[in-house]
Amino acid sequence: MMSRRIIKILCLSVLILSFHSQNFAQEKCNLKTSIAESIKLIPDFTYSGSKTYRPETVNSSIEIIAFLFEGVESSIVFLKEFEDAIFEVNIYDKPANDVTKNILFSTDDIAFSGKELIFKSGKRRGLIYVNIVYKGLKYDSKSASCMSMVIGSKAY
């Protein structure tokens, strides 16, 4: 009787552990899907590069630098793996005549609440800075938090 109970507990532990590891595996963004979705969102979008962000704690952030060529129209598509995750996105550059940040785009006022976000940079050149802050989950769900940033251009 006792050994049956032990076996049951062991089986249950294995199930719990496998569920946990599945959840953990989901935390890695599916980059292939993100790129495919980005191309669908912007039909003339040609892939240039990408970065994924997996925040570990609420309010953690990442700063990504993207290099844009002169005369090339670039776009950045941000895609959340799970819609209920809340991210704040700020994009800025540093103009030649100023040493302060020049905000180009910010979700400070309107939270990034949908699944995707598109930023069209126009024919900008040089470096742009993308700051992403993870603000937690909209609902008390078990969803993992992960976001892909896919950059592309209309160069060809």
Binding site: K51, F67, A96, V99
Partner: protein, 280 residues
């Protein structure tokens, strides 16, 4: 940190705008100071660099013509280390893009085979087992748009493959090889229809070289080959920083953005020296 970065970007932009007097020594000082500060504060830098296809396409727009002799040697080379194979993979990828963009499909196939072979040596066999990629390259006889699609597919599938296999750090080495080869191809082109545009592209290398040198230095884990190439790229960036990109036309008195032939030759020699280390 951002203040320093802003100063650097400001100075870089000032240089590229032309027509304004700049003090190279002051710029160098600012950049050295910026790099020291940058290294202290950024152990890890998240950067999205332009794709190999984009580099070649943009140089082509500056008048880069196809020259078979500029391409990397195809004969067997002993790429012993993973680093050596990785940097060669990047360089050959740039040659592949260069051939395709210039519609030299017979050469492109040879470089495709080289890239394919090295991917196997690097344990990236899975990359070319991808049906989408194979279909794209089987259609290389197609038109221009299709060849560009094939290149973009290669870039995309490489990124996805490295991401899925958690080998993303290799992308930096691939990119370094592609960048060196791209700069070499551009610097050896004898027919440049738009020198101003080429000069701007050369100036842009400074920012990219600075980021590359920093990223490589951060990874000196601690392979002497990485350190060597990182030092070389840093020196090249310093050389570019010291170069005066403003040309004064004596007859008209006009000052314009144009690299001198002497400076271009020096940069060409330096890039050639760095590149020769990949294929030695």
């Amino acid at each position: 940190m951002f203040k320093k970065l802003a100063i650097f970007v400001f100075l870089g932009t000032l240089l590229s705008c032309g027509g304004e007097s700049v003090d190279s020594a002051a710029i160098m000082k600012e950049e050295v100071s910026y790099m020291e500060d940058f290294k202290k504060n950024h152990q890890e830098l998240n950067v999205i660099l332009p794709s190999t296809t984009q580099i070649i396409e943009i140089f082509k727009r500056a008048g880069l013509k196809f020259s078979e002799t500029s391409c990397a040697p195809l004969e067997h080379r002993n790429f012993v280390s993973t680093f050596g194979k990785s940097i060669a993979f990047g360089a050959y990828s740039a040659d592949l893009a260069y051939c395709l963009i210039n519609e030299e499909k017979a050469f492109a196939k040879m470089y495709f085979n080289k890239v394919y072979g090295l991917s196997g040596d690097l344990g990236l066999d899975g990359l070319f087992n991808n049906e989408d990629l194979q279909n794209q390259f089987n259609a290389l006889e197609g038109d221009d748009a299709e060849t560009i699609e094939a290149l973009l597919e290669l870039q995309k599938q490489t990124d996805i493959y490295l991401y899925n296999e958690e080998l993303e750090e290799r992308n930096l080495i691939f990119f370094t090889g592609a960048r060196i080869e791209g700069m070499y191809l551009a610097s050896t082109s004898s027919e440049l229809k738009d020198k101003k545009l080429l000069t701007r592209r050369v100036i842009e290398q400074k920012t990219v070289l600075m980021i590359l040198a920093h990223e490589l230095q951060a990874r000196e884990d601690q392979n002497p080959e990485i350190k060597d190439i990182s030092d070389d790229l840093q020196k090249l960036k310093e050389k570019l920083s010291k170069t005066d990109f403003l040309y004064e036309d004596v007859s008209s008195g006009e000052v314009r953005l144009e690299i001198s032939d002497v400076d271009l030759e020096q940069i060409r020699l330096e890039i050639g020296r760095i590149r020769s280390k990949i294929f030695r």
